[in-house]
C-alpha cells in the first residue's frame, strides 16, 4: 500500500511548489509594501494631491482664493499658510490619525488621512 506522498508525481510536486512560491512571494510583497497611511487632498471635487504620511512634503494647493500651503512632517499633515480670512485651517493643527480631517472651507481645500482598515488608531472620529 502506497502512502499519499508516494502517490505524488513529479507534476504534482511542480504544481504544489509553484503555488507555494507564489504564496511566499505574495507575503513578502505585502510585507515590503509601504505602511499605507496616506494624505489625500481634494480641491473642490477633485483629488489634487496624494502622498505618504511618512514622507516629508511641502506643497502649495490651489483653491479659489489662492494657495494653501500644506506641510507633511513628523507631526503629521498641517496647513502652514492660507489666503482665507480666519485661518481656522492653520489653528486646527496637524492631522495624523486615520480618519482625521482638515479643511480650509473658504479655499475649498480638504485634507484627509487614510489608512488600511487594520491600522491601530486610538479613535474612530474626533470631536473638536
Amino acid at each position: 500500500m502506497k502512502t499519499p506522498w508516494q502517490l505524488m508525481t513529479g507534476g504534482d510536486w511542480l504544481v504544489v511548489l509553484t503555488l507555494l512560491g507564489i504564496s511566499v512571494a505574495g507575503i513578502a510583497w505585502l510585507a515590503a509594501a509601504p505602511k499605507g497611511t496616506r494624505v489625500v487632498v481634494t480641491s473642490g471635487d477633485q483629488t489634487c494631491f496624494v502622498a505618504g504620511l511618512d514622507q516629508f512634503h511641502s506643497v502649495d494647493l490651489d483653491g479659489p482664493l489662492g494657495k494653501t500651503h500644506l506641510v507633511i512632517d513628523a507631526t503629521g499633515a498641517h496647513v502652514t499658510s492660507s489666503p482665507c480670512p480666519r485661518k481656522v485651517c492653520i489653528s486646527m493643527g496637524p492631522a495624523k490619525h486615520s480618519g482625521d480631517l482638515l479643511a480650509c472651507v473658504p479655499n475649498r481645500i480638504m485634507v484627509r488621512i487614510e489608512s488600511p482598515a487594520n491600522e491601530d488608531v486610538p479613535y474612530d472620529l474626533l470631536s473638536r
Binding site: V15, V88, M110, L125
Partner: protein
C-alpha cells in the same frame, strides 16, 4: 511528466472554493464621504453589506443636509432665518425651522438665557468670523443686546413672533446639530444600522463601528493635535464646543465665538465643553449653555437632562465630569 489529475483538480477546486468564500463571506462594506458645507467639513460614514444601498443613503443624507442648510443658515438671503431677521414682527416658518427654534427656546428658558437664539446682531458686531475682528465698545455691545433674550422670541404654531423689529435670529448654536440629526434619520430610513454623521466634530454615532463601539477622541483645548479623552458610545450624539475653534487674541486676551448673553462678550469660565446626549441638536445647544454657565451651574443644568453627560474643562484647565461620564470614558 506524469500528472496526478485528481490532486490537481482538488487543488483547483480548493482555490475556487476559497475565492468564493472570500467574495461571499458577508464582510461589511463601508462608504465614507466628506463634503464642505455649513462652514465646516461634513463626513458621513455608513456600513453594511450592500454598497448600492450605502451609496444611496449617503447621497440622500447629504442632499437633505444641503436642503436644511438653505433653510436655516443666515448666509442665504432666502433662508427662513434671513427672512425672519428682515421682517419687523416675525414670519411664518417651515416646520423644520419651527422645530429647531422650539428646542432652542426650551434650552434658552431652562438655562435662564445662557443659550440664546437672538444674538445675531451681537455676533455681527464682534465679527469673529471676519479677517480683522475688533473689540466693540461697551456702548455698541449694549446696543446690540437691546431687545434680545429669552422673551424676545415666541413661537405660535409655525408663526415666529419677534418682540423687537431689529432682532436678528441666529441658529448657529443649534442648526448644525439639527441638520446632523436629520441626516441620521435619512440613513435610518435607508435601513442603515451602523454609521456616523460628523459635522466639524458635532456628531451622531449610529449603532456601533463594525468592529467595536465607536471610539471618539475629544480635542484637547490647549494642546494642538492633543487628545483630552476618548469615549465609547453607540446611538448617541457627541458634541464639543471650545474657545479654540474661532478666536483672535489681543493684549494677551483670547476673544472667541461663544458669547455670554449677559455681558455681550466671550464667555470666560470654560475652555471647552463636551456633551453626550441623544440628539446632536440638544447636544449643540447644551454645550453652548454649559460653556456660558461654567462648571458648577453648567453641571446643575445638565442634571436636568436625564441620559445626558458632559465633561467641562474650566478656564483654569481643571476637568469637571458629570456623574455618569465615567460610563462612557475610554482612556485619557
Amino acid at each position: 511528466m506524469p500528472w496526478n489529475r485528481p490532486l490537481i483538480i482538488g487543488i483547483i477546486l480548493l482555490l475556487l472554493a476559497l475565492g468564493w468564500l472570500r467574495t461571499n463571506s458577508g464582510e461589511t462594506d463601508q462608504v465614507r464621504r466628506s463634503q464642505l458645507m455649513m462652514g465646516t467639513i461634513v463626513e458621513i460614514v455608513a456600513s453594511g453589506r450592500d454598497t448600492g444601498q450605502l451609496d444611496a443613503a449617503v447621497d440622500d443624507a447629504f442632499a437633505e443636509m444641503a436642503r436644511l442648510d438653505r433653510l436655516l443658515s443666515r448666509h442665504y438671503q432666502d433662508s427662513d432665518v434671513s427672512r425672519l431677521s428682515q421682517s419687523s414682527k416675525g414670519s411664518k416658518v417651515a416646520p423644520e425651522t419651527a422645530e429647531v427654534i422650539a428646542l432652542g427656546l426650551d434650552v434658552a428658558r431652562r438655562s435662564k438665557g445662557a443659550f440664546d437664539l437672538t444674538l445675531g446682531r451681537l455676533k455681527i458686531l464682534w465679527g469673529i468670523d471676519q479677517e480683522n475682528p475688533v473689540i466693540p465698545t461697551p456702548a455698541a455691545i449694549a446696543e446690540a443686546l437691546e431687545g434680545t433674550g429669552v422673551q424676545a422670541l415666541s413661537l405660535e404654531g409655525l408663526n415666529l413672533i419677534k418682540r423687537s423689529p431689529q432682532l436678528m435670529v441666529d441658529l448657529g448654536g443649534i442648526a448644525k446639530g439639527y441638520i446632523v440629526d436629520q441626516a441620521v434619520m435619512v440613513l435610518k430610513k435607508h435601513g442603515i444600522t451602523s454609521g456616523a454623521v460628523n459635522a466639524g466634530g458635532d456628531m451622531y454615532l449610529l449603532g456601533q463601528h463594525p468592529e467595536h463601539p465607536w471610539r471618539i477622541g475629544i480635542q484637547h483645548p490647549r494642546e494642538q493635535g492633543g487628545i483630552l479623552a476618548t469615549v465609547k458610545v453607540r446611538d448617541m450624539a457627541v458634541v464639543t464646543s471650545g474657545d479654540y475653534e474661532r478666536f483672535f487674541e489681543q493684549d494677551g486676551q483670547r476673544y472667541h465665538h461663544i458669547f455670554d448673553p449677559g455681558t455681550g462678550s466671550p464667555a470666560r469660565d470654560c475652555q471647552s465643553v463636551t456633551v453626550i446626549t441623544d440628539s446632536v441638536a440638544l447636544g449643540d445647544a447644551l454645550a453652548t449653555a454649559l460653556f456660558v454657565l461654567g462648571p458648577e451651574k453648567g453641571l446643575a443644568l445638565l442634571a436636568e437632562y436625564p441620559g445626558s453627560e458632559g465633561l467641562l474643562v474650566a478656564a483654569d484647565g481643571t476637568l469637571h465630569p458629570s456623574p455618569g461620564w465615567a460610563n462612557y470614558a475610554g482612556s485619557p
